[in-house]
């Protein structure tokens, strides 16, 4: 055993995949995985399933907070930029409205609006990538050939080996017990 460790790589399970053939089965199975107390697990579906968040015991997305921060930055940033450029650094008087006068504000509204939207959009997309930790091109589930159907018409539950409750035999039996159509232990070479 010690020799094998030193000289060659050993194969260890990284994730167990349970496959389901319809959305309802995956949803009910997810409820059972949640109740069994697993923490490092996930469901993989071709489209979001209504009620899955609750079935997995997940909290609401925090994305809105990121977006509102970006929106306020865009709004105030646009005002500051225009006021500094046209009112302080190089005073441009148009329509007899001196810099800083309330009369200059209406003409700033369109650009303040546009930059609010622009930064919110970047906040929404990049914030979503950040919360999801994407891009991540390498993940243990991709080692399974059957997993390719997760983006087409199959529903998967994955339980990672890093889960404290993970045990190859017990977890496998548990997943078979909650009516998975197919259970696969994905293994990977480790140093």
């Amino acid at each position: 055993m010690e020799e094998a460790k030193a000289t060659e790589r050993k194969i260890a399970p990284t994730v167990i995949l349970a496959e389901f053939e319809d959305a309802g089965a995956a949803l009910h199975a997810a409820e059972k995985v949640r109740d069994a107390g697993y923490s490092r697990w996930d469901t993989h579906t071709p489209f979001p399933i209504h009620g899955m968040d609750a079935a997995m015991g997940m909290k609401d997305s925090r994305l809105g907070w990121i977006v509102i921060a970006c929106a306020l930055t865009g709004l105030t940033g646009a005002f500051t930029m225009m006021h500094w450029m046209n009112g302080i650094d190089y005073v441009t008087v148009v329509g007899d409205k001196p810099p800083g006068a309330p009369g200059t504000i209406p003409s700033m509204v369109p650009i303040m609006f546009e930059l609010t939207i622009l930064l919110s959009a970047f906040g929404a997309v990049l914030g979503m990538f950040g919360l999801n930790q994407l891009p991540r091109h390498n993940h243990p589930v991709f080692a399974s050939d059957r997993f390719r159907a997760a983006s087409i018409d199959r529903y998967f539950i994955s339980i990672e080996a890093e889960d404290p409750k993970f045990d190859v035999k017990a977890t496998r039996e548990f997943l078979e017990g909650i009516h998975a159509a197919h259970v696969e232990v994905v293994e990977e070479e480790v140093e």
Binding site: I49, M52, M82, M85, E114, L131, F142, A150
Partner: protein
């Protein structure tokens, strides 16, 4: 996006052909990108590339000689360039309406056409942005419109509607692109997972960002999608409003009108739906998308066309009424004489007939469900809306306050080549999109199908799934229930 359950009692039908399985829908859409292109694709693509070539020559000549190669001259300094810009930006609006506003209103039928319409938005806005870029005379100084430090230590004048336009259209393009890409991610993952060659797997895999359909991801993804839709809704209404302010804030009769912002937005959606329909009808026939793009979708789009046609017709009538009611002789001269009876009366007729009269055919169900009729009507609307912008721009400028400065504008062959060239760019980009990307949002369509309902086939039953593969036979027979 939750599943869609038609209310049979109200005569509603499923959004996807009855009995379709998830795999069939995937095959229909993803298959287009995997099979060799049909002969028709190559013919149209070759034709489009020819126009791209014409565009390149015309713009090259423009850069070499200057804007004098166009017909623009005193008093008509804005002509086809700005007409084309407004026309193209307007076309983009239907895409955002379908992807954002209909999403907010939970109009689930949009899933069949939203990807398509969003792609149209992006390509139309690219074509639009070309014109302000090349009409400035010295295009290499175009960066003056951005708030960048430059050698003259000047900043842009933020009180100018032309600058608002830069921000509005720039933001519009960027947000549309982000929205489109976010929508594409799950479908790119599908293409990656179906790929048979290493090359496809690498390219689609790269852009799919390692998407694995995780519900922990879907949670944030759906929220991002909702937020993008929510912010795109006021955005799309703002863009053509700001475009209309390029005109409305001036004092030229025909431009100096408070009705412009809503009128432009209605016109934009009108022309955009017509363009979506033109392109969609071609794609539906060439790539056989009848399972997903149903007559129902087309009919709903025709109702939009009819509705926005009425809005546009209302705006036209209101302009006439206000010109008379204002008692302003210049306004009256423009609206009551120069438009219908001036030297460009034919342009006015081309605006009025296709935009306000021809869509009235759609009051008849027979007309709005006939493919040939809707194809012809959509082409007429495209032409009519181009003439609307021509009428607004050229007819307001050719006869202003002083008769001594009146003139007549004629386009040159370079004007024509540049404009038709952008149509070539649009179609070339569109054809590449249809060939290489899923042209229907697969994940979203699947989300509206009966299979997406976790309680489908189990309603009212409390019994848990006693058989492991309960759904095996169900998938195929579900639609028949």
């Amino acid at each position: 996006m939750a599943y869609y359950e038609p209310i049979i009692e109200l005569g509603e039908a499923p959004l996807v052909q009855k009995g379709s399985t998830l795999a069939e829908v995937t095959d229909d859409i993803a298959g287009v990108t995997e099979r060799p292109a049909p002969r028709g694709w190559w013919i149209v693509f070759g034709l489009a590339l020819m126009f791209v070539g014409i565009f390149t020559v015309c713009v090259g000549y423009l850069f070499w000689r200057g804007v004098g190669v166009w017909g623009n001259t005193s008093p008509v300094f804005w002509a086809w360039d700005i007409t084309n810009f407004v026309w193209w930006v307007g076309i983009g609006h239907a895409g955002t309406l379908i992807s954002a506003i209909l999403f907010i209103f939970r109009q689930k039928w949009r899933t069949a056409i939203n990807r398509f319409a969003e792609a149209m938005t992006i390509f139309a806005v690219i074509c639009a942005l070309i014109f302000p870029g090349i009409h400035v005379g010295r295009p290499w100084l175009m960066y003056y419109v951005f708030p960048l430090p430059n050698q003259m230590t000047l900043w842009p004048n933020f009180k100018s509607p032309l600058l608002w336009d830069v921000f509005a259209v720039g933001t519009y393009f960027t947000v549309s692109l982000l929205f489109w890409y976010v929508g594409l991610i799950p479908d790119l993952a599908t293409l990656r997972d179906r790929s048979m060659t290493k090359g496809r797997q690498m390219v689609y895999g790269f852009f799919a960002l390692g998407w694995r359909g995780s519900n922990r991801h879907w949670r944030n993804y759906e929220r991002a999608y909702l937020i993008l839709a929510a912010i795109s809704t006021p955005l799309v209404l703002s863009v053509h409003s700001v475009v209309s302010m390029d005109f409305a804030t001036s004092v030229i009769p025909g431009w100096h009108t408070t009705i412009f912002p809503p009128y432009f937005v209605a016109g934009a959606i009108f022309s955009g739906f017509a363009m979506v329909e033109t392109v969609l009808l071609i794609a539906r026939t060439v790539f056989k998308l009848h399972r997903v793009v149903l007559m129902r979708h087309l009919e709903l789009m025709n109702k939009f066309i009819l509705f926005t046609s009425l809005l546009v017709g209302y705006a036209y009538s209101m302009e006439f009424f206000i010109a008379w009611y204002s008692g302003n002789r210049y306004e009256m001269a423009h609206f009551l004489h120069n438009r219908p009876a001036g030297p460009y009366w034919w342009a006015w007729v081309w605006m009025m007939v296709p935009n306000t009269l021809i869509p009235q055919l759609y009051w008849s169900k027979k007309m709005r469900t006939s493919i040939p009729v809707m194809f012809v009507v959509s082409i007429f609307v495209n032409i009519g809306m181009w003439f609307e912008r021509f009428v607004i721009i050229v007819l307001s400028l050719n006869r202003d306050f002083l008769p001594s400065s009146w003139g007549y504008y004629r386009p040159t062959i370079i004007d024509v080549g540049t404009f038709t060239g952008t149509i070539g760019i649009f179609f070339a980009a569109f054809l590449l999109f249809m060939r290489w990307l899923p042209m229907v949002a697969m994940a979203e369509v699947k989300g509206t199908m009966p299979q997406a309902d976790p309680h489908h086939g189990h309603r009212g039953k409390h019994a848990p799934h006693s058989e492991p593969i309960a759904a095996k036979g169900t998938l195929a027979t579900e639609g028949a229930e």
